[in-house]
């Protein structure tokens, strides 16, 4: 295997990697957007279903609700968000939005990107793999 060959190969891999990372980013963005949308939709669904919904059951539909004055508002907890909060990634981001940090929250602080961080400045100890990442890896696996 000649050096030029492997360099070429490396370049190809690099290009692929970059592409893949970008794709991943796009997917992540899409995913989070969709998750947000689901949450929003879900809330809307809960808000608009006065008589019950697929989560709480449709019992109230059969009841003749003549005295409409004291309509009990159904209380929803986090457990009722079966659609939105069934995604682990959204649970995390949700918690973050609520100002809460989880146990492994530091891992979520990192994401893959194609641009070098810190405005192009090579991070300290650039030659070596940052310990942080190693830690992350172990946790991922």
């Amino acid at each position: 295997m000649s050096k030029s060959d492997s360099t070429e190969q490396y370049d190809a891999v690099k290009a692929k990697l970059t592409q893949q990372i970008l794709r991943k980013q796009e997917l992540d963005a899409k995913l989070s957007k969709l998750e947000d949308k689901i949450y929003e939709k879900e809330n809307e669904y809960f808000a608009e279903s006065a008589h019950g919904n697929i989560v709480k059951g449709f019992d109230n539909f059969t009841k003749a609700n003549t005295g409409g004055s004291h309509k009990k508002r159904i209380a929803y907890t986090d457990d009722d968000h079966i659609f939105s909060l069934s995604s682990a990634s959204f649970v995390k981001s949700f918690a973050r939005k609520q100002g809460l940090t989880g146990k492994n929250d530091e891992l979520d602080e990192y994401e893959d990107s194609v641009e070098p961080t810190n405005g192009g400045v090579v991070p300290p100890g650039a030659n070596t793999t940052p310990s942080r990442k190693r830690k992350g890896r172990t946790m991922d696996e």
């Binding site: 050096k3 360099t7 939709k41 539909f61 609520q98 100002g99 961080t117 990442k133």
Partner: protein
Amino acid sequence: MALPSTKSQQAGGARFRQRKISVKQPLIIYKQKDLPDLSSNDLEPSQIHHLNSSGNAAQQRDVHAMETGVDKNEEDEVHLQQVINAAQRALRGSEEKKKSEINEEGAAGSREEEKKPDVYIPTPDASRIWPEASKYYNDFTFVAPETYIKFSATVEDTVGVEYNMDEEDEEFLNNFNKDKSSTKVCSEVEFEIICDKLEKTIEERQPFLSMDPSNILTYKELSGFIIGELTSTNNGYGNGGKYISTTALKDKLSKELNYKPFVTLFDKRTENEDKPQPKIRTITKLFDLFGESIYTHWKERKISRHGKHIHPSLKFEDPNANEKENDADPYICFRRREFRQARKTRRADTLGAERIRLLQKSIHRAQELIESVCQREILRLDALDAEHEIFKLRSEGKSLKRTIGIKGDDYLYYSHKRKKPVVKIEEEPVGTETSTPASKKQKKNKEQANRDRKDVEDAATATSVVEGIPSAAAAAAALQQEAATSSTQPYVKLPASKIPDMDLVTVSLVLKEKNETIKRAVLEKLRKRKEQDRHFINLTDDPYEPYFNITTNDHSDKVLELNHIPYSSITSSFYHEINNSNYISEELKKLLEENKKALPGVKTFRGSNGELIPSKPFPHISSLTKDYNGESGSDLTNGSSDNGYIAQLLSNIESNNFNAYNNGYGSQVQHRADESQESKLSEPIFSMRKRVGRGGRLFIDRRGLFKKPVAPLIESSPSVTVGGGLGGVVNVYDSEADAQKRLDSRWRFDDDLTEYERGIQEPFSLDPSKLNCISEDTQSIRFGSMLLSKSYDLFRESVHQRQQVLIQQARARALQQQQLLQKQQQAAQAAQNAQQALQLQQQQQQAQKLQQQQQQNLSRQSGLPIPSSASSSHSQSQTHTPSHSHSPVTIPNSRQLSQQLPHGQDKMGTSASSPGSMGNSTARPSAQQRTNSNPNPNTNIVQANLQQQQQRTGAHSPPGTSQQKYKQSNSTPMYNNSSSK
């Protein structure tokens, strides 16, 4: 409720309904003869009725008893009747069979069964399948929807042109198209369109064509109408509410909307859209091309049909024709049945429908949600795949990098720290937080604090509700910020599931907030009060702070009236506030320091005999007062301390000089004041006062700084005379005295003198309410109290006077009594004398006379009248009658009474006692003297009195008792007198 039986019977055709048995409903009792033969026990009564339909009695009710399951007027239907009769026969047959069974053993049974299938109600056969259906119904584009199909269009709306070709038309068309180029061929659809148009128009134009079919419109006329109608549709929606066929409507709409292939949802879509559909030409063009030839064909057919529709149509009831005609016509279909009221839709129905709609909506939404969740999962899978791909690429790239030894591009190989993701603002106000590291740290801290606090609270309230619920904790943490800004949190205890809605607050915080709220409220109240009291000046003294003028302390010597000091708390506070507050005078100080002499006025009991001796000095007293002495020595250089009230008091005690209490305190103070004026407090140089005058003008009053110029009053006696010896009249303008006067007048109301100075200058003011030398602040109080004390004095005086008067009266009465008593005694003596004289004239006349004389002589000699009388009566009682034994007691009694009077008066006032007693003592001898001096002239009168009394009390009563009574009656008013006082 149940209808009365009569009515139900009247209802004629009305069917029997099973009704509940009720008290109101008479029950029909059937007797044996009424009922049919009940040979078969296994049959229901109704069935038996039915079986006896041939019987005459049961015939009428027979119809009602049987349930056929069809409408009443259809019960007579042939097939139904056949079936019913067959059933009857069958039942009867079974009866017969039963009977015959015994004889024939079921041989006939088979025969019966063979008969059965003969009669049946014919029903259309729905079992067959039409194999050619797919040939004609070939719209495969149709996809059955998930839900039910909702459809409101009529069949006519959806089938396109109403005209359908038949065999004749087909034949004609085939002939027509035989020798024509492909472009000029008239398609079947086009033919139908043209025919339909012709039919519609002729129906419109000649509705009664059937009367005379030969009179049909010519092609020209018809085509003219048709074309004209089509062109005229441009302007307005026209047609005057006439029916527009669906095709016409579609044409119109496509024209108006300028949208060519006007296909609605209901239009049949072709199987294959790729195939070029033979284009349908417009009606006008079609008429141009084939109109005339088709018209001839159509006309032929129309005439052959006698002007009626070529295409057979259903015949409906003619609403104008009478009922009989309609009934008679067998071709009428869909006849109207009895009018049935349409069921009104009620609220319950709509509610149910509404609910169902809602349910459908809800499920749709849920479905949407589930779909998006599926999408999310797919995306997530993609993302994970991508990550895996990245991982693989990275490991590959890394190994390559190592082998080649390339450096750089490291950033591609590890995750980077997230760049400030801008978190969207949530519904909750917490959302403003960003997850930057800094804020993260803050958050962490906050959380830590929160947790700490929670721990504390848990320990305190012993509730473990907060722990273990991440969502609860999350919410609590999220609401932390809010809690900081909010005023007060409700202090409630909730079940664990409901806690997240609020933040937990410590008791101390709550209390602190409460305190602050109260403080704020009070301040607010004060502020409001101030606002209200604006422009008001409070002139009243604080009653708990007596007027205390430090600066005028050194004027105490100048005050003119000092006698009242010990009595007035106000003045004492005024003059001696400094001195009586922990101040020890020099003398006392010295005394204490020396510690040799006993403290003045302090005495101790001697243990041995209880004698009071001056107490010995305490050895530790100086040490106790040492600090204070040193302090007082340095602090109070005020010389006037010497003549302090306490010091004076102490010295007074020492010298046993209690003059101050009698003569007032001032005189003593004055003595020393002159001696000990070493230092004075300076008066304030000047003082200002701001006040708002009338019209909002602002005044600033000044006091001090300017003194009235003390012009040397050089009242020139001789030197000022002007004008030589001219009469000695001094010119007004030259007179210095006058100038002085004028100057004085100028300062009259504008002096800076203090109250004291002014008081000294003018001790007696003209204002009657104004007390001299007393500050104005307390003037009114003093005046009031003065008036009070004055009135009290007056009151006291008047009371005293009244007392005196009463005492005088009492005294006078006592005197009178005594006199009376003496008189009585004398009278009694006289009476006794008389009696004795009468009774014992012979026995003791001589001796008695002697005795009396001796007694009188004795009393005269001794000067003591009462003992004498007493002794005389005593001797008498002793000697003569036992009833008189009590008489000697009376006299001491009377004395006691007389002595009691002053005693009673003593209670009133001691001053009255001595003159009272004196009067008594003086009055007695005089009375005695009187009685003694001239006893004889009085005796007669007394006797008469006595007789009268004896008559009153009873003649038989002894004189002694009457006397007693007399005394008693006398004694009572005296007591009354004394008590009334």
